[in-house]
């Protein structure tokens, strides 16, 4: 699966399936500070991502 991180860099994970929350924590990202878009749709972090999925991680900036 492909992960597009908040800094727009792209990483590829080889695992077949994993809960999105675990993937975020592995990247050192607190799930409460980002929104996850899976294959173009916003999803809660307890949803599982599987091989072939694209995850885009949106970090919202502060100071607005």
């Amino acid at each position: 699966m492909q992960i597009i991180l908040p800094d727009r860099s792209v990483r590829t994970l080889s695992c077949t399936s994993a809960p999105i929350e675990e993937i975020l924590l592995e990247f050192g990202i607190n799930p409460t500070t980002v929104i996850v878009v899976k294959n173009g749709k916003i999803v809660p972090e307890d949803v599982t991502a599987t091989e072939g999925d694209e995850l885009r991680i949106l970090r919202f900036s502060h100071g607005g």
């Binding site: 607190n30 749709k41 809660p44 307890d46 919202f60 900036s61 100071g63 607005g64």
Partner: protein, 305 residues
């Protein structure tokens, strides 16, 4: 949980969020409805609006104030109140131009009256010029001057209430910061009542929504813009508290809401025990202050120091 299991608790469509208290999953449409309902319920519960109110929305053009204007625009007429947007242009190069454009676009689209007050007009120079050589004090100086500028914009527009886009994260962070600083007076300070002749009551309709919920709301409604961050943003303490609270919220969902309930409880018990503090007017500008000269006059060097 598989995508097939992740369904809206109300209609069975794919869910975009999972919320607690009560535990529920909601699709895009039901989340928008849920967020709008929570804001309306809070406004009614706290009696934020009275019929005939003219509400000034502090519109920075950033995400929170954009969501605030979008939410209040349809609600206020149903409560018998009218709306005006006010934007403070501090004069921060590379930041404010873009957010100002966003604010103008939004008020233009919604047909909302929009007043812009600039630091240069009010204080003689813009923030960038004032901060040369003391950039680290940016947030403190800006905070004091922005409050005064917002007050001035409120007067110019004849507003009876000032609505700001503070969200649950902002408010919970402030509670914890006040506790960590041991600043009980600030913890107890309630700006929702105002001061006749000086400050109109302030309302914070978005304080029931987390920052994440606000961004989700904007994304789903097609209004999220990735805007630049203020170059002066973030005091060290707030930034540390933000990270700490985000960690606690993740491991113990509901932490931020419980902090707000704690603050409300402290305010209720303190209100009956403490006599009202006497305030005077600044001998230079006449605005309300706790000392002889207000912070704005001191920052601008009007006191001769």
């Amino acid at each position: 949980m598989t995508s097939a299991e992740n369904r809206c608790s109300l209609c069975g469509e794919p869910a975009v969020v999972r919320l607690t208290e009560p535990e529920r999953r909601l699709c895009a449409g039901h989340f928008i409805e849920d967020a709008e309902t929570r804001v309306l319920v809070a406004m009614k519960h706290d009696r934020m609006i009275s019929p005939g109110d003219r509400v000034a929305v502090g519109l920075s053009g950033g995400k929170d104030s954009t969501a605030l204007l979008l939410l209040l625009h349809p609600i206020l007429p149903t409560l018998g109140a009218s709306l005006v947007a006010i934007t403070i242009d501090e004069g921060i190069a590379g930041y404010r131009e873009e957010t100002l454009r966003a604010a103008r676009d939004l008020t233009g689209e919604l047909g909302v009256e929009h007043a812009i007050v600039t630091f240069a007009d009010l204080f003689g120079k813009d923030l960038d010029a004032m901060l040369v050589g003391r950039e680290a004090q940016g947030c403190t100086v800006c905070g004091v001057l922005r409050r005064r500028a917002l007050g001035e914009a409120v007067k110019r527009t004849g507003a009876t209430k000032l609505a700001t886009g503070h969200n649950l994260d902002d408010e919970a962070q402030s509670v914890l910061m006040n506790v960590l600083r041991g600043d009980l007076p600030r913890l107890l300070q309630d700006t929702s009542t105002g001061q006749p002749g000086h400050f109109v009551p302030r309302i914070k309709p978005l304080a029931v929504l987390s920052e994440k919920e606000i961004v989700t709301y904007l994304l789903l409604r097609g209004y999220f813009r990735d805007l630049p961050e203020c170059p002066y943003a973030g005091t060290a303490l707030r930034s540390e508290v933000r990270t700490m609270l985000a960690g606690l919220e993740h491991r113990h969902p509901g932490t931020m809401l419980r902090l707000m309930r704690f603050r409300d409880g402290v305010r209720r018990s303190a209100r009956s025990a403490e006599p009202a503090k006497a305030l005077s007017t600044c001998r230079i500008c006449g605005e309300l202050t706790s000392g002889e000269v207000c912070q704005v006059c001191r920052l601008l060097g009007r006191d001769g120091e």
